[in-house]
């Protein structure tokens, strides 16, 4: 028994014991808190069973910020190990686990849910809709993501973390190369949350195509919604590839097949192709919505229409299509031959064109505008130089023969962090600051925000610029240690300093949020930035049903137009009678179904087949139960709408 537990719980490392203790204390703390303040019912009714897109968005947001913390701690641990040559802070095994979890968590459990948070919070409001197309599925998507992420994180204290890299190339990720449950945690954690991501992609695609307010033609739709549309199309084609790839890897590991090993006739290069057929589009999936955010922010805070709207839409659409024709640039050195490499080098460079065009359009939106330096705008302005340089190094990487020198080096690490942090994370932060008042009804403190902004930004350059140099010096990624001989030491030390500055930036942000919850400036207008799109036409935070009256859209920048010409919600005269509003009912099924997936994933991770089957049976029961549910909706009566609107300060 004791022996069994020893193999089960990860032992032997103070960091992990620390984590064990922290987890137990946190769980106990939550239990005590909920019981003491009698919050169980509230938690269940208001959050765990909610199908309200705004609340789901907030849950996504909280989870992704937690994951940013976890991934950030991973990053700091790695940077601490690399700060000095011949360091013994972490051993090789531990370092390998950390970079694997860091990469996986940052992309799949931080960037994706952060993006979904913004989808959920913004898209229906921007479209003038009362909800997403499939609210129940939306809740299910969230819980699948959540339990997938929990399963993955559990590997830190139970069973052992995966250590084959965030893309897990075979044969290293096969049973022979990675025995033990770590790699299975990876497969099932991603698999479960991946189903959720695919469902979200479908959900928002349909929402955007079907739920727009009357009059909002596609070419009058705000650019953020356009970017979500582009991203969702990409999700729908990319995620099934990931699902299949991981399923095949599991077949290899679980049934001893040879799909991805050369022995027995399989082919590891197939895996590398497949995983990048998902992996490359994935980076556009996460960056496209950021482009949408920048477009909204630049236009709002330059007090000007977006420049070249059509060109913006067109470029996002080309990007989402072209993103499928570049995957081979991740392995030019795998011997595909000169024809193939040339083709993919040129398609990759070609993506730089629509991307560059967007930058010019943002610049010319500011040109002859009036730029106010609010926090969302600061992050947007910081993004431009960062992304332009990152894009340029991307084009350099696309030059296939030159990539023979950059591939797998720190040059690559510097490049993708520059586009992921400077493009994706800065973008989502801009979005977070921009829509925060809409979510919570108050603004975030400016002074703390500026501190966060500058520490993040300076930290970024200090951390990643030296890594370009390290790449030219021959330092390869994923080395856990190096000697004095190569001259890498000073650069690594500086880089680590920068990472810590970014960490301090994150601390400022947490402080900023906590401080502003108490002291933040309340937003009573619902339109604190003098916005242009429909989400600013309703009170903050939005009522359950979003719009008491569905707005009629006459032009792009619909809310701006209403304000200019005093019609629609901007004019009190046009207020009509209220009608009862049709809403979906809360449901516990998404939560239970995802929990059953968690059980199934956990069982399969440890190859406890019966646990796996029990979990899957639970999933089936949940599906059945849902199919027999009849009363899944209700109407909000007119009285209640009147009361709500009055309490929000709206005329009734």
């Amino acid at each position: 028994m004791a022996d069994k537990a020893k193999g089960f719980f990860v032992t032997g490392d103070p960091l992990i014991y620390g984590a064990d203790v922290a987890i137990v204390i946190t769980l106990l703390g939550i239990l005590v808190f909920l019981t003491f303040f009698k919050k169980w019912g509230w938690l269940w009714r208001e959050w765990l069973t909610t199908v309200d897109h705004k609340k789901i968005g907030i849950m996504y947001l909280v989870s992704s910020l937690l994951m940013l913390f976890r991934g950030g701690v991973d990053a700091l641990l790695m940077r601490m190990q690399l700060a000095f040559p011949n360091s013994h802070f972490l051993d090789s095994q531990h370092y390998n686990e950390i970079f694997t979890t860091h990469g996986t968590i940052m992309i799949l459990f931080m960037a994706m849910p952060f993006m979904f948070a913004l989808f959920n919070i913004v898209v229906p409001l921007q479209l003038g809709a009362r909800d997403v197309a499939y609210p129940f599925l939306n809740a299910l998507s969230f819980w699948l993501f959540f339990f997938g992420a929990m399963l993955f994180n559990l590997s830190f204290v139970v069973g052992g973390s995966p250590d084959a890299g965030w893309l897990s190339y075979p044969p290293l990720s096969e049973l022979a190369g990675s025995p033990g449950p770590g790699q299975n945690f990876y497969i099932w954690g991603i698999q479960i949350s991946g189903i959720g991501s695919l469902a979200t992609g479908i959900n928002f695609l349909v929402t955007i195509l079907k739920m727009r307010a009357p009059g909002m033609k596609l070419m009058k739709m705000p650019l953020f919604s356009w970017s979500v549309l582009a991203s969702c199309i990409t999700i729908i084609f990319a995620f099934p590839v990931l699902t299949v790839t991981l399923a095949l890897l599991f077949v290899d590991r679980f049934f001893g097949a040879h799909i991805f090993t050369a022995t027995g006739g399989g082919n590891p290069m197939m895996y590398v192709n497949l995983i990048w057929m998902w992996g490359h589009p994935e980076v556009y999936i996460v960056v496209l919505p950021a482009f949408g955010i920048y477009s909204e922010v630049v236009s709002t805070f330059s007090k000007k229409k977006i420049f070249g709207y059509k060109s913006m839409v067109f470029s996002m659409m080309i990007i989402s299509v072209l993103s499928y024709f570049t995957w081979v640039h991740h392995f030019f050195t795998m011997g595909a031959g000169a024809d193939v490499n040339t083709f993919f080098a040129i398609t990759t460079m070609a993506i730089g064109i629509p991307t560059g065009v967007k930058v010019f359009n943002w610049l010319f939106t500011m040109f002859r505008g009036r730029i106010s330096m609010t926090q969302p705008m600061l992050w947007t302005l910081a993004f431009i130089p960062c992304f332009v340089v990152g894009g340029a190094t991307g084009v350099m990487l696309a030059v296939a023969p030159a990539d023979y020198q950059y591939h797998n080096s720190y040059f690559l690490i510097a490049h993708f962090h520059q586009v992921l942090i400077g493009g994706v994370v800065f973008g989502y932060l801009a979005g977070l600051y921009y829509w925060w008042p809409k979510m919570f009804g108050f603004k975030l403190n400016d002074r703390l925000g500026k501190w966060a902004f500058w520490t993040w930004n300076i930290g970024f350059y200090v951390c990643f610029m030296p890594q370009y140099a390290l790449g030219f010096m021959g330092m390869t990624r994923r080395v856990y240690t190096y000697g004095w001989d190569m001259g890498w030491a000073p650069y690594n030390l500086v880089s680590t300093g920068g990472a810590f500055l970014m960490g301090i930036g994150f601390v400022f942000q947490v402080w900023q949020i906590l401080y502003s919850i108490k002291n933040g400036e309340r937003d009573l207008t619902g339109d604190p930035w003098n916005g242009r799109t429909l989400e600013w036409s309703i009170p903050s935070p939005a009522p359950l049903y979003n719009f008491a009256h569905i707005p009629k859209v006459r032009s792009d920048d619909a809310w701006w137009d209403m304000k200019e010409h005093k019609h629609g919600a901007a004019s009190e005269k046009e207020n009509k009678e209220f009608e009862p509003i049709h809403m979906p009912k809360n449901s516990g099924i998404p939560f239970f179904m995802a929990a059953c997936w968690f059980v199934a994933g956990f069982g399969l991770t440890f190859e406890w087949v019966w646990v796996g089957i029990a979990g899957l049976a639970g999933v089936a029961i949940c599906l059945l139960a849902r199919s027999f549910q009849r009363k899944t909706d209700y109407y909000i009566p007119v009285d209640e709408i009147k009361r709500t609107e009055a309490s929000l300060g709206r005329v009734v």
Binding site: N96, G265, K304, F360, F364, G369, V388, A392, A400, V462
Partner: protein, 303 residues
């Protein structure tokens, strides 16, 4: 006031870092900037070309950004023009769709040219030598089919002679990288790859495995020592005379997970390299799956 100090700080640090990078750029530690053979030279030229072309876009954009933000900021008394409805200009759009297209065309042509030239021997008037490389956990085995000798964790090559590295792996997938001589290429179990490199002058060049392979990955470094042909022959003869033989048992020991010291061997089992490929699945490779579609056993599927 506050804003001023911080943006000032920003500029100074950016300038400092750029200067530092420029001043130390020709330092020998920047391996990629020290091409020591025709392959690395071609790659370096492309790196410079692509950097210059990119800078041609990046620098104007940065200047434009600073100018626009400075000129149009929302300050009382800002006299700059304000045209909130202006959102379209065909001419401007043509300019910024057009310029990148031209740049990509230029870069694309050079990329294609170099890509094709790198799959051929870098020079044709000297007879190349072949070295067979096997990545193991966590060490490198080099076999010299012409000299019938083998080394572990270091390789000697004749300077001025094109070297055809044939690459495979007897464990995880790795990548063979010698930055000063040219780029890298994957080593894969059950497959053979080809990488042409050449050192122009005698010297010692740093090499490492670039694709992650597990615990000992960070230690998979080796030196490539280039010598004049005569000295190289001398060295090979010396090994042939004095070093022990690489028997099958010794090889099996090498394949065990673990690190290894530098070693030399006066012989190795007949067709060790081909057998390694076959044993790892090479025998199953269908012709169309082989790199470039040539017969794997001929080792020139990359032509």
């Amino acid at each position: 006031m506050k804003k001023h100090t911080s943006s000032y700080l920003w500029k100074v640090s950016a300038l400092g870092i750029t200067l530092l990078a420029l001043l130390t750029g020709c330092d020998r530690r920047y391996l990629v900037f020290n091409p020591s053979g025709p392959v690395a030279q071609k790659e370096f030229d492309l790196i410079v070309l692509s950097a210059v072309l990119c800078a041609a876009v990046v620098i104007p954009v940065l200047i434009l950004l600073f100018y626009i933000v400075y000129r149009y900021r929302d300050k009382p008394g800002n006299k700059a023009p304000y045209t909130p409805e202006w959102n379209d200009s065909k001419i401007l759009e043509i300019v910024w769709w057009g310029i990148p297209v031209i740049i990509i065309c230029i870069l694309g042509v050079y990329t294609a040219k170099t890509t094709y030239s790198l799959v051929k021997p870098p020079v044709t008037d000297v007879k190349p030598i072949t070295i067979q490389v096997t990545s193991l956990d966590w060490k490198w085995l080099f076999q010299y089919p012409d000299q019938k000798i083998a080394t572990v964790n270091y390789a000697e090559i004749p300077a001025g002679v094109p070297v055809q590295f044939q690459l495979t792996s007897d464990s995880m997938m790795n990548s063979f990288w010698v930055p000063e001589l040219g780029g890298q290429e994957y080593t894969m179990p059950g497959m053979a790859m080809r990488l042409w490199l050449q050192a122009d002058k005698p010297g010692t060049y740093f090499g490492s495995g670039a694709n992650f392979t597990g615990r000992g990955f960070a230690h998979m470094k080796f030196k490539v020592v280039a010598k004049p042909q005569a000295e190289f022959n001398q060295w090979a003869k010396q090994i042939k005379k004095s070093a022990p033989a690489l028997t099958q048992e010794r090889y099996d020991l090498l394949t065990k997970k673990g690190l290894a010291e530098k070693q030399s061997f006066s012989s190795y089992p007949e067709s060790l390299f081909h057998n390694t490929i076959d044993r790892n699945g090479g025998k199953y490779m269908k012709p169309e799956m082989k790199h470039g579609g040539h017969d794997m056993s001929m080792m020139d599927h990359d032509k």
